[in-house]
């Protein structure tokens, strides 16, 4: 394993990874991968209003909020270092695709930020194994001339690649373990991985729910899709086309069946094409069976409107649970 002190490589030894969108999609450690090749990784800082505002100057106005914040992450890294790694996830398994904005991310960034970027990217299509492996090898070769390191890096990817689709989960990420101290019950929160894991993007909803005394179970705790052997359920509809669309539907359906989960919140962003389709599918089935709250967030989201809805939602469950009231 490389230790980052290898002197045979001339250019900057530090690669920046923006913490947004695709960063949250996988559990694969790009840091270890780059370490093997002799590089250090620098992550961007936590998202904040500043991140958003820096990013917003360069993004077209029709992009969604998470993309705007992603731009900010890239720009903050560019201040220190111009080697940026943006993986291009096109698909997480055969027959599904990522969101078009995630797919286009490297090109989008390269062509809209008017600053010199040494962009490192690699197309990852997990439905096409050979193709992806070739891409990874090419990336490794562009970063090192040492055949051993290249071999080790590709090997590392091969071994850990499986983690990408399957273990998009819990413990090591922001959410942490599902706490068992929620006296008032559990709320299921559904959303894309970045919406669940970045507290700036979700406006701290998960923490708020915990403050109100609820357990939070997110869609990240569920598989991305039904296993192959299971017949596809997805609310008796055709399998959706999108990776995380499947995860969202699967999570929604599982939460609906799970008696411990008393209510479901769906976090989406204004202008999200995938969610516009997906929400329609589960919306009708959830309504009437479990309390459901759909939250459409955007950069303009006022705290007041959001809090009113969350408060009303938790009140509803508290009062329903017989614990008749809650001191305001």
């Amino acid at each position: 394993m490389g230790n980052g002190k290898n002197k045979e490589l001339p250019t900057s030894k530090i690669i920046g990874i923006p913490r947004g969108l695709s960063y949250y999609l996988d559990n694969f450690s790009w840091e270890s991968f780059f370490h093997i090749l002799g590089y250090e990784v620098e992550y961007s800082e936590d998202s904040s209003v500043e991140t958003f505002e820096t990013g917003n100057q360069f993004v077209g106005s029709d992009q969604c909020f998470p993309v705007k914040v992603y731009y900010g992450h890239v720009l903050s890294l560019l201040k220190k270092n111009n080697y940026i790694f943006i993986p291009q996830y096109t698909s997480m398994e055969e027959g599904t695709y990522c969101c078009p904005k995630v797919i286009a991310l490297p090109q989008l960034i390269k062509n809209t930020i008017p600053q010199e970027i040494n962009l490192l990217t690699v197309e990852i299509d997990l439905g096409r194994e050979k193709f992806t492996r070739k891409n990874i090898r090419r990336l490794a070769m562009s970063l090192s001339q040492n055949p051993l390191r290249i071999f080790a890096a590709v090997n590392y990817f091969d071994k850990n690649r499986k983690r990408l689709p399957e273990e998009i989960s819990s413990a090591e990420k922001f959410m942490g373990e599902c706490q068992s101290n929620g006296k008032k019950g559990s709320i299921g929160v559904i959303g894309h991985p970045y919406a669940l894991q970045d507290p700036f993007l979700n406006m701290g909803i998960l923490n708020r729910l915990k403050e109100f005394g609820f357990d939070v179970v997110t869609s990240a705790r569920y598989q991305r899709s039904y296993e192959q052997t299971d017949c596809p359920v997805y609310f008796s509809r055709r399998k959706p086309h999108w990776d995380f669309g499947r995860n969202i539907l699967y999570a929604a359906e599982s939460m609906l069946k799970d008696e411990k989960i008393q209510g479901i919140i769906f976090i989406t962003y204004f202008g999200c094409g995938i969610d516009a389709f997906i929400e329609e599918i589960f919306n009708d089935s959830i309504c009437g069976q479990k309390p459901y709250l759909g939250l459409t967030l955007d950069e303009h989201s006022g705290e007041a409107g959001l809090m009113t809805r969350i408060e009303a939602f938790t009140d509803m469950m508290i009062r329903k649970g017989g614990e008749n009231r809650d001191a305001g």
Binding site: V49, E50, N283, E303, E311, R319, K320, N324
Partner: protein, 320 residues
């Protein structure tokens, strides 16, 4: 000697205050409905002066509850015992006045909501999302444009023999439609009736989308005064709507009941600061917190030079 609970609902269009008997939730001594006119504190002060003039004194007030979009601001200033969102307040009031209720339709100044209740418990609710079409503010604006006092809006609608069809999806398009239909010779009555139908349709397709609306249905909020809207809803839903006696102050009534519950549960004396509190010199300021890159905008309330409350931060450190 009578003792009371006070409920305050400071909304975008009106500020409502009720004075409720401490023993009987159905007995309201006062129901005030004051236009907010963009100045929540002034309108509340006006209400408090009225109450004081009528002889209510602070010692007889057992608790105060606040709701409405300005609830945090107002609640902090007057020392409310309970600060609750509008949905909970409306639901509590609806269940209290009409225990069998299954659906509450509430249309206020800038938002409209549907609350589903089964066995006296809220099981689901929805609010309008990004568009304010179909709320009181829009009706207000149109009544002004048509030069019909808002109070007569309903009567106008009922007089129409055949309403014209108006797009209710968006207020801008609705207005375009109304102008167009006027130019084609539709009467004011027909237009008003068409507008009522459009709002009811919009509400059912948007706010109440996918919800099962079961009778008994309670219709509350300021817009419930409008008989045209009531009729449009009844036609659309093929069911009767019940309009509670205090339809326009249900939010305030609910917060009075919530205050009663809170005081009873915590067994503490009320934190209400009295009717005169609004007359003191308040200064509201929006300040930016510079402690982290989030640069939250805080609201700072100073009373006679002393910082009384501060809120609006993401991290919560100023609120304590």
């Amino acid at each position: 000697m009578n003792q009371y609970y006070i409920g305050v609902d400071v909304g975008s269009v009106s500020t409502n205050i009720v004075v409720m008997d401490s023993m009987d939730n159905k007995k309201l001594y006062e129901t005030l409905y004051i236009r907010t006119n963009g100045q929540p504190l002034e309108s509340l002060n006006e209400g408090f002066i009225t109450l004081k003039d009528k002889g209510y004194c602070m010692e007889d007030i057992l608790g105060v509850g606040v709701t409405g979009s300005a609830r945090i601001l107002v609640g902090n200033i007057i020392g409310a015992d309970s600060i609750k969102n509008e949905i909970t307040a409306h639901a509590v009031a609806a269940i209290d006045t009409y225990p069998q209720v299954k659906t509450v339709i509430e249309i206020g100044g800038q938002d409209s909501k549907i609350i589903l209740i089964r066995n006296g418990v809220v099981i689901d609710f929805a609010m309008n999302t990004i568009c304010a079409a179909g709320t009181g503010s829009f009706l207000d604006q149109q009544s002004f444009r048509l030069k019909i006092p808002i109070e007569e809006f309903g009567d106008f609608a009922l007089r129409a023999d055949e309403p014209v069809r108006i797009a209710g999806r968006c207020t801008v398009f609705a207005e375009t439609d109304m102008v167009h239909k006027q130019q084609e010779g539709a009467t004011k009555e027909q237009i008003v009736a068409g507008l009522c139908e459009a709002l009811a349709r919009n509400y059912i397709n948007n706010v109440a989308k996918g919800k099962s609306i079961e009778a008994p249905i309670l219709f509350q909020g300021g817009v419930a005064f409008n008989k045209g809207i009531k009729r449009a809803f009844e036609q659309e839903l093929a069911a009767q709507l019940v309009i509670p006696k205090h339809f326009n102050v249900m939010g305030a009534l609910g917060s009075a009941i919530l205050a009663k519950e809170t005081v009873r549960d915590t067994k503490k004396k009320t934190t209400f600061k009295g009717f005169d509190i609004m007359q003191r010199k308040y200064k509201l300021k929006r300040v930016a917190c510079q402690d982290c890159p989030n640069a939250c905008e805080l609201t700072e309330v100073t009373v006679e030079g002393e910082i009384a409350a501060k809120w609006g931060d993401r991290c919560g450190k100023w609120q304590k």
